[in-house]
Subunit: 161 residues, 4 copies
Protein backbone atom coordinates (compact mmCIF):
# COMPACT_ATOMS: atom_id res chain seq x y z
CA UNK A 1 0.00 0.00 0.00
CA UNK A 2 1.35 3.41 -1.03
CA UNK A 3 -0.11 6.83 -0.28
CA UNK A 4 0.98 10.07 -1.94
CA UNK A 5 0.65 12.99 0.47
CA UNK A 6 0.51 16.60 -0.72
CA UNK A 7 0.70 19.52 1.71
CA UNK A 8 -0.77 22.90 0.77
CA UNK A 9 -0.74 24.84 4.06
CA UNK A 10 -3.72 25.89 6.17
CA UNK A 11 -4.37 26.03 9.90
CA UNK A 12 -2.95 22.53 10.41
CA UNK A 13 0.54 23.92 9.76
CA UNK A 14 0.20 27.31 11.42
CA UNK A 15 2.91 28.51 13.75
CA UNK A 16 3.17 31.49 16.07
CA UNK A 17 6.06 33.89 15.70
CA UNK A 18 6.47 35.87 18.89
CA UNK A 19 8.98 38.22 17.29
CA UNK A 20 6.17 39.48 15.09
CA UNK A 21 3.21 38.49 17.25
CA UNK A 22 1.86 36.85 14.13
CA UNK A 23 0.46 33.50 13.23
CA UNK A 24 1.57 32.12 9.88
CA UNK A 25 1.67 28.90 7.93
CA UNK A 26 4.90 27.14 8.84
CA UNK A 27 6.62 23.93 7.83
CA UNK A 28 4.30 21.01 7.49
CA UNK A 29 3.73 18.89 10.60
CA UNK A 30 2.57 15.92 8.51
CA UNK A 31 5.77 13.91 8.81
CA UNK A 32 5.67 14.25 12.60
CA UNK A 33 2.03 13.13 12.65
CA UNK A 34 2.76 10.03 10.58
CA UNK A 35 5.74 9.20 12.79
CA UNK A 36 3.58 9.57 15.88
CA UNK A 37 0.97 7.31 14.27
CA UNK A 38 3.67 4.62 13.90
CA UNK A 39 2.56 4.05 10.31
CA UNK A 40 4.24 1.20 8.46
CA UNK A 41 3.10 1.69 4.88
CA UNK A 42 5.06 3.27 2.04
CA UNK A 43 4.46 6.93 1.38
CA UNK A 44 5.85 10.13 -0.07
CA UNK A 45 5.14 13.75 0.92
CA UNK A 46 5.18 16.56 -1.65
CA UNK A 47 5.09 20.09 -0.15
CA UNK A 48 3.23 21.98 -2.89
CA UNK A 49 1.99 25.18 -1.24
CA UNK A 50 2.26 26.94 2.15
CA UNK A 51 -0.87 29.08 2.09
CA UNK A 52 -3.86 30.08 4.08
CA UNK A 53 -6.58 28.47 1.97
CA UNK A 54 -8.35 31.82 1.52
CA UNK A 55 -5.35 32.81 -0.59
CA UNK A 56 -5.44 29.77 -2.87
CA UNK A 57 -5.88 30.73 -6.52
CA UNK A 58 -7.37 28.94 -9.52
CA UNK A 59 -3.80 28.39 -10.70
CA UNK A 60 -2.95 26.69 -7.39
CA UNK A 61 -5.90 24.34 -7.79
CA UNK A 62 -5.00 23.68 -11.41
CA UNK A 63 -1.46 22.77 -10.35
CA UNK A 64 -2.84 20.37 -7.73
CA UNK A 65 -5.22 18.82 -10.28
CA UNK A 66 -2.43 18.29 -12.82
CA UNK A 67 -0.08 16.79 -10.26
CA UNK A 68 -2.65 14.20 -9.20
CA UNK A 69 -3.83 13.49 -12.76
CA UNK A 70 -0.27 12.72 -13.85
CA UNK A 71 0.66 10.86 -10.66
CA UNK A 72 1.23 7.11 -10.61
CA UNK A 73 -0.45 6.60 -7.24
CA UNK A 74 -4.07 5.62 -6.77
CA UNK A 75 -4.28 7.05 -3.24
CA UNK A 76 -3.79 10.69 -2.31
CA UNK A 77 -4.10 12.53 0.99
CA UNK A 78 -4.01 16.34 0.77
CA UNK A 79 -3.60 18.58 3.81
CA UNK A 80 -5.39 21.85 3.14
CA UNK A 81 -6.77 24.96 4.83
CA UNK A 82 -10.35 24.51 5.95
CA UNK A 83 -11.98 27.62 4.52
CA UNK A 84 -11.85 26.55 0.87
CA UNK A 85 -11.37 22.81 1.29
CA UNK A 86 -14.81 22.01 -0.22
CA UNK A 87 -14.01 24.21 -3.22
CA UNK A 88 -10.76 22.37 -3.91
CA UNK A 89 -12.53 19.03 -3.46
CA UNK A 90 -15.07 20.06 -6.11
CA UNK A 91 -12.27 21.01 -8.49
CA UNK A 92 -10.66 17.57 -8.09
CA UNK A 93 -13.95 15.68 -8.46
CA UNK A 94 -13.24 14.99 -12.12
CA UNK A 95 -10.30 12.72 -11.19
CA UNK A 96 -12.62 9.81 -10.62
CA UNK A 97 -10.22 6.89 -10.97
CA UNK A 98 -8.23 7.70 -7.83
CA UNK A 99 -9.08 7.86 -4.15
CA UNK A 100 -8.35 11.42 -2.98
CA UNK A 101 -8.92 12.54 0.60
CA UNK A 102 -8.58 16.13 1.79
CA UNK A 103 -8.07 16.90 5.45
CA UNK A 104 -6.72 19.65 7.67
CA UNK A 105 -7.38 21.02 11.13
CA UNK A 106 -9.47 23.58 12.96
CA UNK A 107 -6.65 23.95 15.51
CA UNK A 108 -2.95 23.98 14.55
CA UNK A 109 -1.06 20.69 14.82
CA UNK A 110 1.54 22.48 16.95
CA UNK A 111 -1.06 22.94 19.71
CA UNK A 112 -1.12 20.61 22.68
CA UNK A 113 -4.76 19.89 21.89
CA UNK A 114 -5.45 19.64 18.17
CA UNK A 115 -7.72 17.77 15.78
CA UNK A 116 -4.84 17.41 13.29
CA UNK A 117 -3.62 13.95 14.32
CA UNK A 118 -7.12 12.46 14.49
CA UNK A 119 -7.99 13.96 11.09
CA UNK A 120 -4.88 12.65 9.34
CA UNK A 121 -5.63 9.23 10.86
CA UNK A 122 -9.10 9.36 9.32
CA UNK A 123 -7.74 10.49 5.97
CA UNK A 124 -5.15 7.70 5.86
CA UNK A 125 -7.82 5.09 6.57
CA UNK A 126 -10.24 6.57 4.03
CA UNK A 127 -7.55 6.73 1.34
CA UNK A 128 -7.01 2.99 1.59
CA UNK A 129 -10.56 1.71 2.02
CA UNK A 130 -12.78 4.14 0.07
CA UNK A 131 -13.77 3.59 -3.55
CA UNK A 132 -12.19 5.96 -6.06
CA UNK A 133 -13.53 9.48 -5.64
CA UNK A 134 -12.87 12.67 -3.71
CA UNK A 135 -13.57 12.92 0.03
CA UNK A 136 -13.17 15.33 2.93
CA UNK A 137 -12.23 13.90 6.33
CA UNK A 138 -13.09 16.44 9.05
CA UNK A 139 -15.19 16.67 12.24
CA UNK A 140 -14.96 12.91 12.73
CA UNK A 141 -16.59 12.17 9.39
CA UNK A 142 -15.69 11.17 5.84
CA UNK A 143 -17.80 13.24 3.46
CA UNK A 144 -18.01 12.73 -0.34
CA UNK A 145 -17.00 15.87 -2.24
CA UNK A 146 -20.00 17.99 -3.18
CA UNK A 147 -21.98 17.00 -0.10
CA UNK A 148 -20.14 19.02 2.57
CA UNK A 149 -19.56 22.58 3.74
CA UNK A 150 -17.67 24.33 6.51
CA UNK A 151 -19.96 25.97 9.05
CA UNK A 152 -17.79 28.83 10.29
CA UNK A 153 -20.06 29.89 13.13
CA UNK A 154 -20.17 26.37 14.58
CA UNK A 155 -16.52 25.72 13.64
CA UNK A 156 -17.27 22.35 12.05
CA UNK A 157 -17.78 20.54 8.77
CA UNK A 158 -21.28 19.27 8.05
CA UNK A 159 -23.42 17.67 5.38
CA UNK A 160 -24.98 20.07 2.91
CA UNK A 161 -28.67 20.38 3.77
CA UNK B 1 -24.23 8.53 11.61
CA UNK B 2 -23.88 6.73 14.94
CA UNK B 3 -20.91 4.75 16.27
CA UNK B 4 -21.01 2.48 19.30
CA UNK B 5 -17.63 2.47 21.07
CA UNK B 6 -16.59 -0.29 23.49
CA UNK B 7 -13.47 -0.01 25.64
CA UNK B 8 -11.75 -3.15 26.93
CA UNK B 9 -8.42 -1.84 28.28
CA UNK B 10 -4.96 -2.41 26.84
CA UNK B 11 -1.88 -0.24 26.44
CA UNK B 12 -3.96 2.63 25.03
CA UNK B 13 -5.39 3.24 28.53
CA UNK B 14 -2.32 2.45 30.62
CA UNK B 15 -1.32 4.83 33.38
CA UNK B 16 1.73 5.03 35.61
CA UNK B 17 1.31 5.02 39.37
CA UNK B 18 4.42 6.41 40.98
CA UNK B 19 3.30 5.39 44.45
CA UNK B 20 3.69 1.78 43.37
CA UNK B 21 6.10 2.27 40.48
CA UNK B 22 3.62 0.28 38.44
CA UNK B 23 1.97 0.67 35.11
CA UNK B 24 -1.67 -0.40 34.96
CA UNK B 25 -4.75 -0.04 32.81
CA UNK B 26 -6.52 3.13 33.91
CA UNK B 27 -9.68 4.95 32.91
CA UNK B 28 -10.26 5.05 29.21
CA UNK B 29 -8.83 7.99 27.30
CA UNK B 30 -11.28 7.49 24.43
CA UNK B 31 -13.61 10.35 25.34
CA UNK B 32 -10.64 12.75 25.47
CA UNK B 33 -9.45 11.53 22.09
CA UNK B 34 -12.85 12.06 20.48
CA UNK B 35 -13.10 15.53 22.04
CA UNK B 36 -9.66 16.39 20.72
CA UNK B 37 -10.70 15.13 17.27
CA UNK B 38 -13.61 17.62 17.37
CA UNK B 39 -15.96 14.87 16.18
CA UNK B 40 -19.53 15.91 15.44
CA UNK B 41 -21.31 12.59 14.97
CA UNK B 42 -23.50 10.79 17.52
CA UNK B 43 -21.85 8.14 19.63
CA UNK B 44 -21.94 6.19 22.84
CA UNK B 45 -19.07 4.66 24.83
CA UNK B 46 -19.51 1.44 26.81
CA UNK B 47 -16.63 0.63 29.19
CA UNK B 48 -16.76 -3.19 29.18
CA UNK B 49 -13.36 -4.32 30.51
CA UNK B 50 -10.18 -2.75 31.90
CA UNK B 51 -7.64 -5.46 31.12
CA UNK B 52 -4.28 -6.12 29.64
CA UNK B 53 -5.32 -8.11 26.57
CA UNK B 54 -3.11 -11.05 27.62
CA UNK B 55 -5.56 -11.50 30.50
CA UNK B 56 -8.69 -11.58 28.34
CA UNK B 57 -10.62 -14.81 28.69
CA UNK B 58 -12.98 -16.72 26.42
CA UNK B 59 -15.81 -15.45 28.62
CA UNK B 60 -14.69 -11.86 28.03
CA UNK B 61 -14.76 -12.42 24.28
CA UNK B 62 -18.13 -14.13 24.48
CA UNK B 63 -19.49 -11.14 26.40
CA UNK B 64 -18.18 -8.79 23.73
CA UNK B 65 -19.66 -10.95 20.96
CA UNK B 66 -23.08 -11.03 22.60
CA UNK B 67 -23.11 -7.30 23.25
CA UNK B 68 -22.43 -6.53 19.59
CA UNK B 69 -24.78 -9.22 18.28
CA UNK B 70 -27.66 -7.79 20.31
CA UNK B 71 -26.74 -4.13 19.68
CA UNK B 72 -28.84 -1.90 17.48
CA UNK B 73 -25.89 -0.14 15.91
CA UNK B 74 -24.29 -1.11 12.61
CA UNK B 75 -20.94 0.50 13.42
CA UNK B 76 -18.67 -0.50 16.30
CA UNK B 77 -15.21 0.68 17.33
CA UNK B 78 -13.50 -1.39 20.04
CA UNK B 79 -10.37 -0.23 21.87
CA UNK B 80 -8.36 -3.28 22.84
CA UNK B 81 -4.92 -4.40 23.99
CA UNK B 82 -2.64 -5.20 21.10
CA UNK B 83 -1.33 -8.62 22.08
CA UNK B 84 -4.54 -10.55 21.45
CA UNK B 85 -6.36 -8.07 19.21
CA UNK B 86 -6.21 -10.43 16.18
CA UNK B 87 -7.65 -13.26 18.30
CA UNK B 88 -10.63 -11.15 19.38
CA UNK B 89 -11.14 -10.00 15.79
CA UNK B 90 -11.32 -13.65 14.69
CA UNK B 91 -13.90 -14.39 17.38
CA UNK B 92 -16.10 -11.53 16.14
CA UNK B 93 -15.77 -12.47 12.47
CA UNK B 94 -19.10 -14.25 12.52
CA UNK B 95 -20.95 -10.98 13.05
CA UNK B 96 -20.90 -10.22 9.36
CA UNK B 97 -23.77 -7.75 9.06
CA UNK B 98 -22.05 -5.00 11.05
CA UNK B 99 -18.90 -2.97 10.54
CA UNK B 100 -16.62 -3.65 13.52
CA UNK B 101 -13.19 -2.02 13.86
CA UNK B 102 -10.69 -2.87 16.60
CA UNK B 103 -7.93 -0.48 17.47
CA UNK B 104 -5.57 0.33 20.33
CA UNK B 105 -2.08 1.68 20.79
CA UNK B 106 1.51 0.57 21.05
CA UNK B 107 2.20 3.57 23.32
CA UNK B 108 -0.25 4.75 26.00
CA UNK B 109 -2.62 7.59 25.09
CA UNK B 110 -1.41 9.46 28.18
CA UNK B 111 2.04 9.82 26.60
CA UNK B 112 3.04 13.04 24.93
CA UNK B 113 3.85 11.03 21.81
CA UNK B 114 1.37 8.23 21.17
CA UNK B 115 -0.21 6.41 18.26
CA UNK B 116 -3.56 6.32 20.11
CA UNK B 117 -5.13 9.43 18.58
CA UNK B 118 -4.09 8.55 15.03
CA UNK B 119 -5.37 4.99 15.45
CA UNK B 120 -8.77 6.02 16.80
CA UNK B 121 -9.03 8.46 13.88
CA UNK B 122 -8.42 5.57 11.47
CA UNK B 123 -10.93 3.35 13.26
CA UNK B 124 -13.64 6.01 13.19
CA UNK B 125 -13.17 6.51 9.45
CA UNK B 126 -13.10 2.77 8.75
CA UNK B 127 -16.25 2.18 10.82
CA UNK B 128 -18.20 4.55 8.61
CA UNK B 129 -16.84 3.74 5.15
CA UNK B 130 -15.97 0.00 5.25
CA UNK B 131 -18.37 -2.72 4.18
CA UNK B 132 -19.76 -4.88 6.98
CA UNK B 133 -17.05 -7.09 8.45
CA UNK B 134 -14.35 -7.07 11.13
CA UNK B 135 -11.20 -4.96 10.79
CA UNK B 136 -8.09 -3.99 12.72
CA UNK B 137 -6.80 -0.40 12.39
CA UNK B 138 -3.16 -0.29 13.52
CA UNK B 139 0.25 0.76 12.14
CA UNK B 140 -1.39 3.16 9.69
CA UNK B 141 -3.38 0.40 8.02
CA UNK B 142 -6.88 -1.08 8.00
CA UNK B 143 -6.55 -4.88 7.93
CA UNK B 144 -9.45 -7.34 7.46
CA UNK B 145 -9.73 -9.78 10.38
CA UNK B 146 -7.88 -13.03 9.70
CA UNK B 147 -5.21 -11.37 7.55
CA UNK B 148 -3.17 -9.65 10.25
CA UNK B 149 -0.81 -10.37 13.13
CA UNK B 150 1.17 -8.40 15.69
CA UNK B 151 4.91 -8.64 15.17
CA UNK B 152 6.21 -8.15 18.70
CA UNK B 153 9.87 -7.89 17.76
CA UNK B 154 9.20 -5.13 15.25
CA UNK B 155 6.47 -3.59 17.44
CA UNK B 156 3.97 -3.35 14.59
CA UNK B 157 0.94 -4.94 12.97
CA UNK B 158 1.45 -6.55 9.57
CA UNK B 159 -0.26 -8.64 6.94
CA UNK B 160 -0.07 -12.37 7.49
CA UNK B 161 2.45 -13.79 5.05
CA UNK C 1 4.19 29.18 51.96
CA UNK C 2 1.70 31.27 50.02
CA UNK C 3 2.09 32.82 46.54
CA UNK C 4 -0.24 35.39 45.05
CA UNK C 5 -0.45 34.99 41.26
CA UNK C 6 -1.68 37.77 38.96
CA UNK C 7 -2.38 37.16 35.27
CA UNK C 8 -2.25 40.05 32.81
CA UNK C 9 -2.36 38.31 29.40
CA UNK C 10 0.45 38.06 26.85
CA UNK C 11 1.65 35.30 24.55
CA UNK C 12 1.53 32.73 27.35
CA UNK C 13 -2.28 32.81 27.20
CA UNK C 14 -2.76 33.25 23.46
CA UNK C 15 -5.27 31.08 21.66
CA UNK C 16 -6.06 30.59 17.99
CA UNK C 17 -9.58 31.14 16.74
CA UNK C 18 -10.04 29.40 13.42
CA UNK C 19 -13.40 31.05 12.84
CA UNK C 20 -11.56 34.35 12.52
CA UNK C 21 -8.11 33.05 11.67
CA UNK C 22 -6.90 35.22 14.52
CA UNK C 23 -4.69 34.78 17.49
CA UNK C 24 -5.85 36.46 20.67
CA UNK C 25 -5.25 36.42 24.39
CA UNK C 26 -7.55 33.79 25.88
CA UNK C 27 -8.29 32.48 29.35
CA UNK C 28 -5.23 32.05 31.48
CA UNK C 29 -3.49 28.68 31.38
CA UNK C 30 -1.82 29.30 34.74
CA UNK C 31 -4.14 27.05 36.78
CA UNK C 32 -3.48 24.16 34.36
CA UNK C 33 0.26 24.73 34.60
CA UNK C 34 0.22 24.67 38.41
CA UNK C 35 -1.92 21.52 38.38
CA UNK C 36 0.49 19.86 35.95
CA UNK C 37 3.37 20.88 38.22
CA UNK C 38 1.65 19.03 41.09
CA UNK C 39 2.28 22.00 43.37
CA UNK C 40 1.30 21.58 47.01
CA UNK C 41 1.62 25.11 48.41
CA UNK C 42 -1.20 27.57 49.07
CA UNK C 43 -1.92 30.09 46.35
CA UNK C 44 -4.48 32.38 44.81
CA UNK C 45 -4.81 33.59 41.20
CA UNK C 46 -6.18 37.02 40.36
CA UNK C 47 -6.97 37.57 36.66
CA UNK C 48 -6.29 41.30 36.32
CA UNK C 49 -5.89 41.91 32.57
CA UNK C 50 -6.13 39.96 29.32
CA UNK C 51 -3.90 42.03 27.06
CA UNK C 52 -1.09 41.86 24.61
CA UNK C 53 1.60 43.64 26.61
CA UNK C 54 2.11 46.20 23.84
CA UNK C 55 -1.36 47.46 24.73
CA UNK C 56 -0.69 47.86 28.44
CA UNK C 57 -1.19 51.42 29.65
CA UNK C 58 0.25 53.45 32.50
CA UNK C 59 -3.11 53.01 34.22
CA UNK C 60 -2.80 49.22 33.92
CA UNK C 61 0.64 49.35 35.53
CA UNK C 62 -0.60 51.67 38.24
CA UNK C 63 -3.43 49.23 39.00
CA UNK C 64 -0.94 46.37 39.25
CA UNK C 65 1.34 48.43 41.51
CA UNK C 66 -1.51 49.35 43.85
CA UNK C 67 -2.79 45.80 44.05
CA UNK C 68 0.62 44.48 45.10
CA UNK C 69 1.34 47.41 47.45
CA UNK C 70 -1.91 46.78 49.32
CA UNK C 71 -1.66 42.99 49.22
CA UNK C 72 -0.98 40.93 52.32
CA UNK C 73 1.30 38.46 50.55
CA UNK C 74 5.08 38.74 50.44
CA UNK C 75 5.42 36.64 47.29
CA UNK C 76 3.96 37.51 43.89
CA UNK C 77 4.21 35.84 40.49
CA UNK C 78 2.87 37.86 37.55
CA UNK C 79 2.28 36.35 34.11
CA UNK C 80 2.81 39.07 31.54
CA UNK C 81 3.38 39.64 27.83
CA UNK C 82 7.05 39.65 26.92
CA UNK C 83 7.34 42.86 24.93
CA UNK C 84 6.94 45.26 27.83
CA UNK C 85 7.76 42.93 30.73
CA UNK C 86 10.97 44.84 31.61
CA UNK C 87 9.01 48.10 31.63
CA UNK C 88 6.45 46.75 34.09
CA UNK C 89 9.25 45.29 36.22
CA UNK C 90 10.83 48.75 36.42
CA UNK C 91 7.53 50.29 37.49
CA UNK C 92 7.20 47.74 40.33
CA UNK C 93 10.80 48.18 41.49
CA UNK C 94 9.74 50.54 44.22
CA UNK C 95 7.88 47.77 46.05
CA UNK C 96 11.06 46.60 47.70
CA UNK C 97 9.71 44.71 50.69
CA UNK C 98 8.11 41.93 48.65
CA UNK C 99 9.48 39.29 46.29
CA UNK C 100 7.85 39.86 42.88
CA UNK C 101 8.64 37.67 39.85
CA UNK C 102 7.37 38.37 36.35
CA UNK C 103 7.27 35.60 33.78
CA UNK C 104 5.52 34.72 30.54
CA UNK C 105 6.26 32.80 27.39
CA UNK C 106 7.71 33.23 23.93
CA UNK C 107 5.39 30.44 22.69
CA UNK C 108 1.77 30.08 23.88
CA UNK C 109 1.10 27.64 26.73
CA UNK C 110 -1.53 25.96 24.55
CA UNK C 111 1.21 24.77 22.18
CA UNK C 112 2.53 21.24 22.41
CA UNK C 113 6.01 22.68 22.79
CA UNK C 114 6.09 25.80 24.93
CA UNK C 115 8.40 27.53 27.38
CA UNK C 116 5.41 28.47 29.57
CA UNK C 117 5.56 25.55 32.01
CA UNK C 118 9.32 25.80 32.50
CA UNK C 119 9.07 29.56 33.03
CA UNK C 120 6.31 29.36 35.61
CA UNK C 121 8.35 26.69 37.40
CA UNK C 122 11.29 29.09 37.53
CA UNK C 123 9.09 31.94 38.74
CA UNK C 124 7.55 29.85 41.51
CA UNK C 125 10.99 28.83 42.77
CA UNK C 126 12.34 32.38 42.54
CA UNK C 127 9.33 33.81 44.41
CA UNK C 128 10.07 31.60 47.41
CA UNK C 129 13.87 31.73 47.56
CA UNK C 130 14.85 35.21 46.30
CA UNK C 131 15.33 38.18 48.58
CA UNK C 132 12.66 40.90 48.36
CA UNK C 133 12.86 42.71 45.03
CA UNK C 134 11.55 42.50 41.46
CA UNK C 135 12.76 39.80 39.05
CA UNK C 136 12.10 38.49 35.55
CA UNK C 137 12.25 34.72 34.96
CA UNK C 138 12.70 34.04 31.25
CA UNK C 139 15.13 32.23 28.92
CA UNK C 140 16.19 29.90 31.73
CA UNK C 141 17.39 32.77 33.88
CA UNK C 142 16.28 34.87 36.84
CA UNK C 143 17.18 38.51 36.14
CA UNK C 144 16.88 41.40 38.62
CA UNK C 145 14.62 44.16 37.32
CA UNK C 146 16.58 46.90 35.58
CA UNK C 147 19.27 44.56 34.31
CA UNK C 148 17.37 42.79 31.52
CA UNK C 149 15.90 43.39 28.07
CA UNK C 150 14.02 41.40 25.46
CA UNK C 151 16.06 40.87 22.31
CA UNK C 152 13.34 40.55 19.68
CA UNK C 153 15.61 39.48 16.83
CA UNK C 154 17.07 36.63 18.87
CA UNK C 155 13.72 35.91 20.56
CA UNK C 156 15.22 35.81 24.05
CA UNK C 157 15.72 37.75 27.26
CA UNK C 158 19.27 38.81 28.05
CA UNK C 159 21.32 40.86 30.47
CA UNK C 160 21.59 44.52 29.62
CA UNK C 161 25.09 45.17 28.24
CA UNK D 1 26.02 31.57 34.26
CA UNK D 2 26.85 27.88 33.92
CA UNK D 3 24.93 24.90 35.33
CA UNK D 4 26.27 21.35 35.47
CA UNK D 5 23.43 18.84 35.07
CA UNK D 6 23.75 15.21 36.16
CA UNK D 7 21.11 12.60 35.29
CA UNK D 8 20.73 9.48 37.42
CA UNK D 9 17.43 7.98 36.20
CA UNK D 10 14.12 7.76 38.07
CA UNK D 11 10.50 8.21 37.08
CA UNK D 12 11.29 11.40 35.17
CA UNK D 13 13.02 9.31 32.49
CA UNK D 14 10.76 6.25 32.49
CA UNK D 15 9.55 4.85 29.20
CA UNK D 16 7.02 2.17 28.32
CA UNK D 17 8.07 -0.75 26.18
CA UNK D 18 5.03 -2.38 24.64
CA UNK D 19 7.04 -5.32 23.38
CA UNK D 20 7.63 -6.29 27.01
CA UNK D 21 4.68 -4.49 28.60
CA UNK D 22 7.23 -3.01 30.96
CA UNK D 23 8.08 0.39 32.20
CA UNK D 24 11.79 1.12 32.52
CA UNK D 25 14.19 4.02 32.88
CA UNK D 26 15.02 5.24 29.38
CA UNK D 27 17.22 7.92 27.88
CA UNK D 28 17.11 11.17 29.76
CA UNK D 29 14.51 13.71 28.67
CA UNK D 30 16.46 16.57 30.25
CA UNK D 31 17.88 17.96 27.00
CA UNK D 32 14.37 18.10 25.51
CA UNK D 33 13.06 19.87 28.60
CA UNK D 34 15.80 22.52 28.47
CA UNK D 35 15.18 23.04 24.75
CA UNK D 36 11.48 23.45 25.38
CA UNK D 37 12.28 25.96 28.14
CA UNK D 38 14.22 28.02 25.57
CA UNK D 39 17.07 28.37 28.04
CA UNK D 40 19.94 30.61 26.98
CA UNK D 41 22.60 29.91 29.62
CA UNK D 42 25.64 27.67 29.29
CA UNK D 43 25.30 24.14 30.55
CA UNK D 44 26.55 20.59 30.32
CA UNK D 45 24.70 17.30 30.96
CA UNK D 46 26.49 14.26 32.37
CA UNK D 47 24.45 11.02 32.25
CA UNK D 48 25.80 9.20 35.31
CA UNK D 49 23.21 6.50 36.10
CA UNK D 50 19.98 5.13 34.62
CA UNK D 51 18.35 3.65 37.69
CA UNK D 52 15.17 3.47 39.64
CA UNK D 53 16.26 5.31 42.79
CA UNK D 54 15.32 2.33 44.97
CA UNK D 55 18.23 0.54 43.30
CA UNK D 56 20.80 3.25 44.01
CA UNK D 57 23.70 2.00 46.11
CA UNK D 58 26.11 3.66 48.49
CA UNK D 59 28.71 3.37 45.73
CA UNK D 60 26.42 5.26 43.35
CA UNK D 61 26.02 8.06 45.88
CA UNK D 62 29.76 8.11 46.55
CA UNK D 63 30.41 8.44 42.81
CA UNK D 64 27.96 11.35 42.62
CA UNK D 65 29.56 13.01 45.64
CA UNK D 66 33.06 12.69 44.20
CA UNK D 67 32.01 14.01 40.82
CA UNK D 68 30.51 17.15 42.34
CA UNK D 69 33.34 17.64 44.84
CA UNK D 70 35.90 17.58 42.04
CA UNK D 71 33.80 19.60 39.59
CA UNK D 72 34.67 23.16 38.62
CA UNK D 73 31.10 24.36 38.59
CA UNK D 74 29.37 26.06 41.52
CA UNK D 75 25.87 25.13 40.37
CA UNK D 76 24.54 21.60 39.95
CA UNK D 77 21.11 20.25 39.05
CA UNK D 78 20.64 16.50 39.52
CA UNK D 79 17.66 14.59 38.11
CA UNK D 80 16.92 11.68 40.41
CA UNK D 81 14.26 9.10 41.28
CA UNK D 82 11.89 10.35 43.94
CA UNK D 83 11.93 7.46 46.40
CA UNK D 84 15.45 8.05 47.72
CA UNK D 85 15.98 11.66 46.67
CA UNK D 86 16.07 12.91 50.28
CA UNK D 87 18.67 10.24 51.13
CA UNK D 88 20.94 11.34 48.29
CA UNK D 89 20.46 14.99 49.28
CA UNK D 90 21.61 14.16 52.82
CA UNK D 91 24.70 12.42 51.46
CA UNK D 92 25.63 15.52 49.43
CA UNK D 93 24.99 17.93 52.30
CA UNK D 94 28.69 18.05 53.14
CA UNK D 95 29.45 19.80 49.85
CA UNK D 96 28.56 23.15 51.31
CA UNK D 97 30.41 25.51 48.99
CA UNK D 98 28.25 24.72 45.94
CA UNK D 99 24.57 25.14 45.14
CA UNK D 100 23.16 21.69 44.42
CA UNK D 101 19.50 21.11 43.52
CA UNK D 102 17.91 17.69 43.14
CA UNK D 103 14.70 17.28 41.19
CA UNK D 104 12.74 14.59 39.37
CA UNK D 105 9.12 13.79 38.62
CA UNK D 106 6.16 11.91 40.02
CA UNK D 107 4.96 11.31 36.45
CA UNK D 108 7.32 10.48 33.56
CA UNK D 109 8.47 13.36 31.34
CA UNK D 110 7.28 11.38 28.31
CA UNK D 111 3.67 11.75 29.50
CA UNK D 112 1.44 14.39 27.99
CA UNK D 113 0.80 15.68 31.49
CA UNK D 114 3.89 15.61 33.69
CA UNK D 115 5.43 17.57 36.52
CA UNK D 116 8.91 17.09 34.98
CA UNK D 117 9.12 20.37 33.03
CA UNK D 118 7.84 22.49 35.90
CA UNK D 119 10.23 20.79 38.33
CA UNK D 120 13.30 21.27 36.14
CA UNK D 121 12.28 24.92 35.73
CA UNK D 122 12.21 25.27 39.53
CA UNK D 123 15.57 23.51 39.89
CA UNK D 124 17.24 25.73 37.29
CA UNK D 125 16.02 28.87 39.06
CA UNK D 126 17.02 27.57 42.49
CA UNK D 127 20.49 26.60 41.26
CA UNK D 128 21.20 30.18 40.23
CA UNK D 129 19.59 32.15 43.07
CA UNK D 130 19.99 29.97 46.18
CA UNK D 131 22.92 30.27 48.55
CA UNK D 132 25.39 27.37 48.50
CA UNK D 133 23.80 24.23 49.95
CA UNK D 134 21.74 21.23 48.92
CA UNK D 135 18.07 21.56 47.97
CA UNK D 136 15.18 19.48 46.66
CA UNK D 137 12.78 21.09 44.16
CA UNK D 138 9.53 19.10 44.07
CA UNK D 139 5.78 19.65 44.60
CA UNK D 140 6.14 23.33 43.72
CA UNK D 141 8.59 23.96 46.55
CA UNK D 142 12.32 24.35 47.14
CA UNK D 143 13.23 22.45 50.32
CA UNK D 144 16.62 22.55 52.06
CA UNK D 145 18.16 19.06 52.37
CA UNK D 146 17.36 17.43 55.70
CA UNK D 147 13.99 19.15 56.03
CA UNK D 148 11.99 17.16 53.49
CA UNK D 149 10.51 13.71 52.90
CA UNK D 150 8.47 11.98 50.22
CA UNK D 151 4.96 11.12 51.38
CA UNK D 152 4.19 8.07 49.24
CA UNK D 153 0.52 7.82 50.18
CA UNK D 154 -0.16 11.42 49.23
CA UNK D 155 2.28 11.26 46.29
CA UNK D 156 4.03 14.49 47.23
CA UNK D 157 7.11 15.97 48.89
CA UNK D 158 6.57 17.78 52.18
CA UNK D 159 8.40 19.43 55.04
CA UNK D 160 9.51 17.10 57.79
CA UNK D 161 7.20 17.60 60.77
Amino acid sequence: MFIQFITTGGTIDKIYFDALSQFEVGESQLKHILNEGLVEFEYDIVPMLQKDSLEMTDEDREQLYEFIAKGDSNRFVITHGTDTMPQTADKLAGLSDKTIVLTGALTPARFRTTDAVFNVGMAVAAAQVCDPGVYIAMSGQVFPAGEVRKNREENRFEKLP
